[in-house]
Symmetry: D2
């Protein structure tokens, strides 16, 4: 049994972490630090937890926790770790972008278990990947791992409204988003940097471009991603490559037939479909942006770091219908 803490407890990713960790057999949720909600019951914000927990948001951290999850806005994790210190044994999982790009200035390990399981198992600090980055990386890294990304990749992905965070904005207002659709940050989404970084680690000669158009969907959760690129082999060869890449994966599966969001929403899974058209390979991936794209993957990384079964606490029931 380990003691876990959460920093920044009122947002979506913290909420999902709380839901998972409260039910995790190896974890005691030691504290949830929130300056804005301090002293309030956790179930007053995450109201689905009514009757399940008497936890109160805390205005103080416990520096002796075994593991701490940082659920802070981008840029704030660096600041928080400068201002606060934890015991030597404390492992940290950061859900922001702050440490995702490897650098001499920090020792965070990129927490994508499908391609980094061993390093994660030995790590003390984990940079949890972005939601789009996870969906896209799982779609294309098996090709990079085999030096097969030879030309530009064309990526289009759509995310739910939880992808935009809890703050209110025009595009998260119900009357705007209901029955609507739009794209944003075309070719310039901030996750492109970490994806390119992952690609080049696996295929150092990669010189092509990842063309990525993100979109806002009128649903709450989920990412649907299509990516296609030049591929010489057959569809069967592609499947072999991907099945080999994911044969040990706890949550990532190559599947036949159409993939869609309801197959994965409210689970930690990523489903991947492969189709060959002419000389192009189309890879479609789906996942839940808050789980495999954030908090679920964070717990998966925690499981690896502490030697728990990789799927412990993460065998979640999809709502599906």
């Amino acid at each position: 049994m380990i003691e876990a803490g959460i920093i920044g407890g009122a947002g979506y990713t913290a909420g999902e972490l709380i839901r998972i960790l409260l039910r995790h057999p190896e974890v005691n949720l030691n504290f949830i630090y929130s300056t804005s909600q301090a002293e309030k019951p956790v179930s007053s914000i995450h109201q689905d937890l009514t009757g399940e927990t008497g936890l109160i948001f805390s205005g103080e951290i416990n520096p002796e926790a075994d593991v701490v999850f940082l659920c802070l806005g981008h840029g704030n994790s660096v600041k928080f770790l400068n201002d606060n210190s934890f015991s030597d044994k404390t492992k940290i999982v950061d859900l922001s972008t702050d440490y995702r790009i490897a650098a001499d200035s920090h020792s965070f390990v990129y927490g994508l278990p499908e391609f980094n399981r061993e390093k994660i198992s030995d790590a003390k600090f984990i940079a949890n990947p972005g939601c789009f980055a996870t969906a896209i990386s799982l779609a294309i890294l098996p090709l990079a791992a085999n030096d097969l990304l030879k030309e530009d990749v064309h990526i289009n992905a759509v995310t739910g409204a939880t992808g935009a965070g809890t703050s209110l904005s025009e595009t998260t207002h119900f009357t705007w988003r209901d029955n609507n659709y739009s794209s944003y940050k075309a070719f310039e989404h901030q996750h492109l940097e970490e994806i390119n970084h992952s690609v080049k680690k696996l295929q150092s000669d990669f010189r092509s471009t990842l063309n990525f158009i993100p979109n806002r969907g009128n649903f709450s959760r989920g990412i649907h991603c299509t990516a296609y690129t030049h591929f010489e082999g057959s569809q069967e060869e592609a499947k072999e490559i991907y099945q080999k890449a994911y044969e040990d994966a706890a949550f990532t599966f190559v599947t036949e037939g159409e993939v869609h969001l309801k197959q994965v929403v409210n689970t930690n899974k990523c489903l991947i479909r492969l189709q060959k058209f002419g000389n192009k390979l189309l890879i479609t991936s789906v996942l839940d942006n808050l789980l495999k794209g954030a908090s679920g993957q964070a717990v998966q990384n925690m499981n690896l770091m502490f030697g728990f079964p990789e799927n412990q606490g993460l065998q979640l029931k999809a709502s599906y219908f």
Copy 2:
């Protein structure tokens, strides 16, 4: 051709008024007054109007306009009319609650054409009914007009997110409202006052209670209302009463078969269904909260005041699917 002005142009009701008046053959949209948006193109806020109008939000009013619509927050119409004056010929339609209850202090006429057509035609100042008030009044006033409201009325109605106004709030955030449902202000909704007022004008001996539970639906537009009460007569007698009440109505129809929102959304119609169960009469009414429940009815009142055909500019295509 009359000159029309709108006060408070960035919200939902102003937006709908603009859309209707721009296409109204007898109206020139003279000015749209908005302090927050002054000098901006109207199509920068109401972006569906791209290519249709070069109008600019104005920081000044034209006191010589033939008709002025007040689209201000509740309480602000009184304040605005205290601070601004219009020419003697200027007719005013107020969409707020400020003047809906008849009082010696003002000369506004309640703008429910089905029960007030003559007074509206002669009026200079109109208090446009509330959205729930319109749906409920059209459901029960035919009974009041025949002194048939003998016992309590049990009313349950649900409104779309536009009913809550453009401001951002927890319950209008997409991730809250999507696939959700809740009730609010049970038995205490502010529209009860104007509905009771209308009932008592028609049936002065009414002493029973209107029990009204409003609900938030996860859709953008529309009100669906069920109301039931004791009724001695047969279903056929009820239909005769209602059909007589609405035989001259331009937009309110008694219909057979189920009623639902898609029959009326984006139109100025109200559809009404009557069913008898035991000694209870169930009346179901549906309308678009922004049109028959606000801006459409405001234009209907304008048409009556200026002697235009009652449905002019209001023959709107439902989206239906």
Copy 3:
């Protein structure tokens, strides 16, 4: 470890049972009987289970199973049990309406744990309550249990599209239901019989009417129910009554503040809010129609029958956002 079977495996309630039982630590899912899907992988229909189970729909039943769940259309459970027999030890949970009304012709126990826990624990055959029946019963039975239902009860409830079953129909077509709302079967819903039956068992002098209007909401899962009736006591007295009624309940909680669907969807919970207005008590209840309103409650009943902890396998993570 017990062996469980499911009869009729392709629908919503069977799907939810499969999801729950696959993760239940005391249950082995022995067979899923489906004539229409026999020989197909379960994950080809319930596609969220990809990677989790190799189970195949079976064309045969195992009469030696410890527990069998009947997920058949109303009327078909009687027929099925006439045509098939199980071992003496086999316990049966029927999710249809067929055995919900106590009768000399059968020995099924009504499976509402909050009011029937002891009988359920000793039962061999369980009639699982209807979804609306559960939401409404949990809202009003504490009053009946105290002989406090003195006048008519006015009930309005809305259910998601899964309430209509998997078959395609006009009102479950996306283009009809999206952003729509309607009522149906007013005062005549088939669940009224079992609710009245439950009320009269607790308050034999009940002579008033349960007035119930069901509605179709444009969401997939969940029931939101408001019920009000005459109540002499204070709001605090009402809370005491309800809190006492549910002090041992595993999933039913009296809560402060607004209740809404996202608090309970994808969980086995029922949340209840109490408000006093004048001499009326308003009770609002919310639950997931497929879980507490069907399959979750069925497993809860199974847990009680086999002496497992009541919430085993049912500590489900809400999606909430």
Copy 4:
């Protein structure tokens, strides 16, 4: 005043035609032919028309009509015109795919007014473009018209559930589609043929590939399309090209700022945004699949054929919120 007939009256495109033509000042809706609905009131199927029309579906056609719209399934228009004949003066607008590709065997003119206005004005028979074809053609044909399509084009578009027709299917069931997303027919959508045909008519040396991934969105109406390709010029030069291409267009506008579905749904408009990134031009287009993508464009073509103002009867109010 011309006499119009509709063949196949119960579907989405027929419904929209009826709504538009009933309000068109130059058209009398002479007959609506439907074998499945013959003798039923039109308002019993298109229920938003309650109170507006007493029209009855007809089991017979009027061969003397001035214009006839064919709203039949793909393949059935050819069959219908083989089996039925109309007067010499009768103009025909076919909404199916049957005549969209020019061929010696027929004399239908492709009804995309932005690029074919003169031929349409002189035409007797019009093949109305497909919905995706319209959105994509309006996005890329200005480049083709200037011989600027030099490399592959990468197109991703999403359509609402009305795009799949009125028949019930798994992917149009509410519980499947609600809060879901998926792609289909990648690189092989049937509209690619007519788009390629249009491109090559304008740029005969076009040898590149249109890579098109269509998607199913969880909304009822609308198409959102992104297309990008190599473009040497600046963003300003692109805007000049497009503004020139659409300077006479009645409903297609180049716009600044984000485009989204609510700007165009329930109107006959297409909005287009242009953005330059590196050496790529990104074109985003939005339209209503049932209006500019079907019935609205059909009426636009009718207006041109009969010399009516191009936008007559088509100045539709968006619902926007």
